[in-house]
């Protein structure tokens, strides 16, 4: 398989964005956004993870099969989160005992 050559400029740019995001996460933590605290932190985290997967892990330049594996994994994480939330979001309504 021919390796896609990525210019180092891309890596430095992504690294800078990641650092910026980290700074943002720290700054946001000083504001109380109420229920949006978690949303804000997780949005930034997901953005960072996506950048790492796409560029540092070269998924952006990879075959369709690699994409299928990545999306499949994200989908499986979705199963874990969605079905777990089916408990947490409805637990207040009624539990056994």
């Amino acid at each position: 398989m021919a390796e896609h050559i990525v210019p180092t400029r891309v890596y430095y740019t992504i690294f800078a964005i990641l650092m910026l995001c980290t700074y943002l996460t720290v700054r946001i933590a000083f504001f109380d956004l109420g229920p949006l605290n978690v949303v804000a932190a997780l949005t930034i985290a997901v953005l960072k993870a996506t950048l790492v997967v796409l560029f540092f892990m070269h998924v952006k330049y990879s075959t369709k099969l690699t994409w299928a594996v990545v999306l499949g994994s994200v989908f499986w994480l979705g199963i874990l989160l969605a079905l777990t939330m089916s408990d947490y979001l409805t637990r207040a309504w009624r539990t056994y005992g």
Binding site: D87, W93, T95
Partner: protein, 538 residues
């Protein structure tokens, strides 16, 4: 049938000495390294079971203290689940057979394969260290908050051991997936694959998708013990039930890591000893994938009494019932395969028949447990213990032993004593049922699991169970002895002693290091008993 003599050069005599084994990259030798590992831990786990059944022979807790008893059932569970049941079939039989069955020289990543064995042994070393330095008393499930704040036993080394071993599972799964995709011989299309391969493919998906979740969860438990993070501690905003969600997200599918490869073995055995193609091949193949996927959607049936939402419980209950469909497809299709087959009752077939019966009982009682109302009645009773032993011991171990007997001539180049083997299969079947059937009744009557003492009215059934366990123990020691004996004194096996179809029977017993004298080309369908191309081969 060709009565090929043992080849002059094969994988067992291709290099001698300890280094040729410990640094091997041959999947067949790595399979034997795994065989040594899982057999060792099986007997360690079995020793704990012996002590448990001895304690329970009398109602009063007299043999061991309550705390020691907690450690006994925990270490029995941990050893059996993580170091025997999960690796047993994929890492021993799968490792040996996946490349041969698809006509490949080896797995896609031979060094990674060897690495996975070392990782397994390293993980086992950590957990063994936990056992000898105070033991573990959390139950194999590591439930919080007990495991994070209350237990004074060696939780951290045990957790690290399981974390480490997880990676051997992930690497094995990865290796199988890539191998099955990329290394099939010319002509070996997806629908010509033996069902053993389909089931190992499905198993590998679970290993790759599920194991990381367990690894990180168990690491969180260790981290929480050390740093008091509070993931699972309500005092600082955590939730102990979150641990159960994360734990069972892997640990329910883990049951399918144990049972799917077992089902693959059974498909091979039934076809070979009925001399017929497996009835409804594509349905059995896709049932494996369906079980793998559905298996990820049912985990909270372990948590109906843990304080989860009623509505979530309903969803998980319905989804749990769905798993019965692909499981039943398999059982019905095996039965249909036997119909009008020319059945021969050799040892592996006895195990296969045993598997079908015991798996059916285990599976059907699983439906009881998927029903929320009934589950609440029997949660944490011996009913659960009986149910999962029917699946894991009656299912996985029966298939493992059946497969080990079926492929033993291929692995070792020797035949075992058929009469002794049949007697052992029967002893195991009787011993197993005597051990675990009374536990269904005990549980339904309300005997809770994980106690070292119980009310005297439960003694008769417990004595039956303990008696059965001693018979079962003999049944497991016998194959250990006659199979070892056969290595040196057994009659030499031909290339295809069963007259079976499949690429593994088209090479010598034992196979050469490269598996085949020349790369095979497949021109026949799976289990094509009776077709000229195949008859010529056997």
């Amino acid at each position: 049938m060709t009565t090929a003599l043992v080849p002059a050069r094969h994988y067992l005599n291709d290099g001698y000495g300890i280094k040729s084994w410990l640094l091997t990259r041959d999947h067949k030798r790595i399979a034997l390294l795994y065989l040594a590992g899982v057999t060792f831990f099986f007997f360690i786990g079995g020793a704990f079971a012996v002590l448990i059944r001895l304690e329970l022979a009398t109602p009063v807790g007299d043999l061991v203290s309550d705390e020691t008893y907690n450690k006994l059932f925990t270490m029995h569970g941990v050893m059996m689940v993580f170091f025997f049941l999960i690796p047993a079939i994929p890492s021993v039989l799968g490792n040996f057979l996946v490349p041969i069955m698809i006509g490949a020289k080896d797995l896609a990543f031979p060094k990674l394969n060897l690495a996975s064995w070392y990782i397994y042994m390293l993980g086992a070393a950590f957990t063994t260290y936990a056992i000898v330095t105070g033991g573990l008393d959390t139950g194999w499930t590591f439930y919080t908050p007990f495991s994070t704040v209350a237990s004074t036993s060696a939780v951290i080394p045990a957790a690290l051991g399981i974390f480490i071993t997880g990676f051997s599972s992930i690497l094995t799964g990865l290796n199988f997936i890539v191998t099955i995709h990329r290394m099939r011989a010319p002509g070996m299309t997806w629908f010509r694959l033996p069902l053993f391969i389909w089931s190992h493919y499905a198993t590998s998906l679970i290993m790759v998708l599920g194991t990381p979740v367990l690894a990180i969860t168990i690491l969180l438990v260790a981290a929480e013990r050390v740093f008091h993070f509070g993931f699972f501690d309500p005092a600082v905003g955590g939730d102990p039930v979150l641990f159960q969600h994360l734990f069972w997200f892997y640990s329910h599918p883990a049951v399918y890591i144990m049972i799917l490869p077992a089902m693959g073995v059974i498909s091979e055995l039934i076809a070979a000893f009925c001399r017929k193609p497996v009835y409804g091949y594509p349905f059995v193949a896709f049932a494996s994938l369906a079980i793998a996927v559905l298996g990820f959607l049912v985990w909270a049936h372990h948590m109906f009494v843990a304080g989860i939402s009623v509505y979530a419980a309903m969803i998980f209950s319905i989804l749990s019932f769905l798993v019965a469909i692909p499981s039943a497809v398999k059982v019905f299709n095996w039965t249909a395969t036997m119909y009008k087959g020319s059945v021969s009752w050799q040892t592996p077939m006895l195990y296969a028949i045993g598997f079908i019966g015991l798996f059916t009982i285990g599976g059907l009682t699983g439906l009881f447990l998927a029903a929320v109302g009934l589950d609440i009645h029997v949660t944490d009773t011996y009913f659960i213990v009986a149910h999962f032993h029917y699946i894991m011991v009656g299912g996985t171990i029966m298939a493992y032993l059946g497969g080990l007997h079926y492929w033993w001539p291929k692995i070792s180049g020797r035949l075992y004593n058929e009469w002794l083997a049949k007697v052992s299969a029967l002893v195991i079947f009787v011993g197993f049922n005597l051990t675990f059937f009374p536990q269904f009744i005990l549980g339904y009557l309300g005997m809770p699991r994980r106690y070292h003492a119980y009310p005297p009215e439960f003694q008769v059934l417990n004595v039956l169970s303990s008696a059965g366990a001693s018979i079962l123990g003999v049944g497991y020691l016998l194959p250990m002895m006659y199979l070892t004996w056969s290595l040196r004194y057994g009659r030499l096996a031909s290339a295809n002693p069963w007259g079976a179809v499949g690429l593994e029977w088209n090479t010598t017993s034992p196979p050469p290091t490269a598996n085949f004298a020349e790369p095979p080309e497949v021109t026949w369908e799976a289990y094509d008993y009776g077709s000229p191309a195949v008859v010529e081969h056997v």
